[in-house]
């Protein structure tokens, strides 16, 4: 793995907080602690972006009238079962 050495100047107060957190969470050194914190935050940001895109899809589907499969859960499941049967008969039945 290639690495990049950096010099990072931080306020004393932040350094004290980082050092305290490192001790409390039993990390061997500050580098490990900061690396994991950054990785975790990046994962959170990716998940937040994913959720935003999911909400956009929800809005888009709602705006265009939904899936058109019925108003109740039972209606939706009944219609989905019919769709499953149609797709299966058209595209998969010959395999089985």
């Amino acid at each position: 793995m290639s690495t990049q050495e950096i010099v990072w100047t931080v306020p004393d107060s932040l350094y004290r907080e980082l050092s305290w957190a490192k001790e409390e969470l039993a990390f061997p050194d500050l580098r490990d602690f900061i690396s994991q914190a950054v990785q975790r935050r990046l994962a959170e940001l990716r998940h937040e972006a994913w959720q935003r895109e999911f909400r956009h899809l929800q809005q888009s589907v709602a705006t265009t009238g939904g899936f058109g499969l019925g108003d109740t859960k039972d209606e939706v499941i009944t219609n989905l079962r019919e769709i499953r049967r149609e797709i299966f008969e058209a595209e998969y039945a010959h395999l089985y």
């Binding site: 899809l57 888009s60 589907v61």
Partner: protein, 141 residues
């Protein structure tokens, strides 16, 4: 822990008509999920081209969601046909779940919930899945 999610969960989750299904969707990036192409075809049938693209983009961005195109082995399908499920297509979904070694198939399909009794995997509702997930009885992917 690997799971399979039935098409009804995507419909309820995307339409926002069921809180548990919607929450399940929002957890997708944290889960290891395998989906047969048949389920995706059911979900996307009534979506526009741009909505289908958006859905596939979401799947691509979820690191542990895999869509399987390979046909399910015939002998496994025959095994699930013997469970007397109402449709052969349901048997294919059951056989897919066993073939892909999932631990749970999440569905609101009452035929699955009532009739698909197998030791290979467990069929559970989204509410039950979430209860176990948050109790950490089901772990991250």
């Amino acid at each position: 822990m690997r799971i399979c999610i039935d098409s009804n969960q995507f419909i309820f989750g995307i339409s926002g008509s069921d809180a548990a299904s919607e929450e399940l969707m929002l957890l997708l990036p944290y889960l290891e999920v395998v989906l047969p192409r048949l389920i995706l075809k059911e979900v996307t049938r009534n979506l526009s081209t741009s909505q289908v693209k958006a859905l596939y983009t979401l799947f691509n961005q979820a690191a542990h969601v895999a869509i399987i195109d390979e046909p399910v082995p015939v002998d496994l399908v025959a095994k699930y046909v013997r469970f007397n499920l109402p449709q052969k297509a349901d048997a294919v979904i059951g056989a897919f779940a066993e073939w892909q070694e999932v631990t749970h198939l999440i569905s609101d399909n009452r035929h699955f919930l009532a009739e698909l009794q197998t030791t290979a995997f467990e069929v559970i509702s989204p509410n039950e899945f979430l209860r176990r997930f948050y109790k950490k009885e089901i772990s991250y992917g």
